[in-house]
């Protein structure tokens, strides 16, 4: 596996928008697995650089626009 990408891009999912089409699992099995109800469990560590293009493809294919790639951590937890 290659080194993390320079911009610190991460895969993020908006769980409210997600309805479990699971196209992300299809297109990016390296970073996405499914729970028993068919919703994606996403690895949110920075993407390895060789996966960034694949990740963007999965983002473009998400029917509910729930998946995205960005540099910000979705939630800064205080605990």
């Amino acid at each position: 596996m290659s080194a993390p990408n320079a911009e610190g891009l991460r895969l993020q999912v908006d769980m409210i928008k997600c309805v479990g089409h699971a196209s992300c699992r299809e297109l990016l099995p390296e970073r996405v697995s499914l729970d028993e109800w068919g919703y994606p469990i996403i690895e949110t560590d920075p993407l390895p650089s060789d996966l960034v293009t694949h990740a963007r493809r999965a983002v473009a294919a998400c029917p509910t626009l729930a998946l995205r790639v960005d540099g910000k951590v979705a939630r800064v937890r205080t605990q």
Partner: protein, 437 residues
């Protein structure tokens, strides 16, 4: 309603400058005149101008005040972030208290309404807001009372009392913003968090009503006075709701650092042998007794399972009751209270509740037990809000604290505790709203 109060473990050393040690929050009266006689005028004049605002935020920061709604986040830090926004901020005073095991906020709003209102005005002044939304659960007379009290005051802010649906997740901060903006009391995805972009797209300070009451006291008496009780990391007094098998279940003002056993004694002591105590309400943890008797309570995650005071709900469970059955009931309630927005919460919580019921009512085999652990791990941290995390934390804590009971249940022994009357309070159907509007 009589309110009993006990002096906490006296860490402050002697009486405060104003002669107040505890009670602090409940020292004033219900009426404006009584309140002013005790606490004096709103100390806005000491904090005029830009410099004054900064001074007020600094006072709250120096006091070390932490949020009393559950998360225990440093209030001064939150105020500074809101004040630093580009647009004029808004303040939300959160008095919803949807937690069934807690009634300290309702009690505070009834017994010391003007302290809460003073705190909200001061917080609004500190961050530069001119509008305060006071959010209260509908279906009680508290909102009407506060509207009447507000009408008697002459405040430099615009007040709006918002009546919030009686649903567990509607008191979450993004849900309040959602309700005010769009009339929908369901939590939203973060970011943006309300302190960045909240009501009308403005930076929004969402603070629990007890937190705001402490802000009023800090502005009046100063940070050193505030620190005279409590611990270094968690100063000041705090309200707790003590229930279950104690002689005088009620709301008490304690100082953090006080031991769990002392708090139970303050509530008149236990009325029968107890097996465990739930600390921190329904997003809290079970503490096994008598081992936990000497555990100091604070908003820090002390204790072996990260036990913290949270919103201050404390329930003593008799040794004769079944902690697994109690937890199964509450987790089922929490599953029903899901906003049904995120898959893991919508499907995961009912599944976990069902497994817990199987464990509690003796239909459990090792496979169910394993599935339960896997589901708990799978659901945690996968919602837009923390509702699933709170529910799984409670479930996990029950499996750990009642591990011995779990063995008994799994080996097929009949547990007599499951047929006892439930101890953990749940709202009846007619006190739960079905709408999000």
């Amino acid at each position: 309603m009589t309110i009993m109060m006990e002096r906490g473990a006296a860490r402050g050393g002697g009486q405060g400058r104003q002669g107040l040690l505890l009670p602090r929050l409940l020292a004033g009266g219900r009426k404006l005149a009584e309140h002013r006689a005790t606490f004096g005028q709103l100390p806005l004049r000491r904090f005029t101008g830009e410099e004054g605002r900064r001074k007020l935020i600094r006072a709250v920061t120096d006091a070390g005040l932490r949020g009393r709604g559950g998360a225990g986040f440093p209030t001064g830090l939150k105020m500074a972030s809101v004040a630093a926004g580009a647009k004029r901020p808004v303040v939300i005073a959160n008095g919803c208290e949807s937690e069934p095991a807690s009634r300290k906020d309702k009690m505070l709003m009834v017994c010391a309404p003007h302290l809460v209102l003073d705190g909200a005005v001061l917080a609004a002044h500190a961050v530069g807001a001119d509008r305060v939304y006071l959010c209260i659960e509908r279906g009680t007379s508290v909102a009407d009372r506060l509207e009447r009290e507000i009408a008697q005051r002459d405040d430099p802010v615009k007040w709006k009392v918002v009546r919030v649906p009686r649903r567990y997740v509607s008191s979450e901060e993004s849900a309040l913003v959602h309700l005010i903006n769009d009339g929908d009391g369901r939590p939203m995805t973060a970011p943006p968090r309300p302190y960045e972009k909240g009501v009308g797209g403005r930076p929004t300070l969402v603070d629990n009503v007890e937190t705001l009451a402490h802000v009023a006291l800090i502005a009046t008496y100063g940070p050193e006075w505030f620190r005279q009780v409590g611990t270094r990391e968690d100063p000041g007094s705090t309200l707790v709701t003590v229930g279950g098998a104690v002689a005088r279940p009620n709301v008490y003002e304690i100082s953090p650092g006080m031991r769990l056993g002392e708090v139970l004694d303050a509530a008149g002591g236990v009325v029968e042998p107890i097996g465990a105590v739930l600390v921190g309400g329904y997003f809290g943890t079970w503490v096994s007794m008598p081992d936990g008797w000497g555990m100091p309570l604070s908003h820090d995650r002390t204790g072996p399972q990260g036990t913290s005071l949270g919103g201050g709900g404390i329930v003593a469970l008799p040794a004769e009751s079944c902690g697994l059955a109690e937890t199964a009931r509450v987790v089922r309630y929490l599953a029903e209270e899901s906003a049904q927005q995120c898959g893991p919460c919508m499907f995961g919580l009912p599944a976990i509740a069902q497994d817990l019921a199987a464990v509690a009512y003796g239909r459990c085999d090792p496979a169910t037990r394993q599935r339960l652990s896997r589901r708990i791990a799978q659901v945690t941290r996968r919602g837009a809000c923390r509702h699933p995390d709170g529910a799984t934390k409670l479930a996990m804590s029950a499996l750990t604290t009642f591990a011995a009971d779990l063995e008994t249940h799994m080996s097929g022994w009949t547990c007599t505790g499951v047929s006892r009357d439930p101890i953990l309070p749940l709202p009846s159907r007619q006190h739960r709203d079905r709408t999000w509007k």
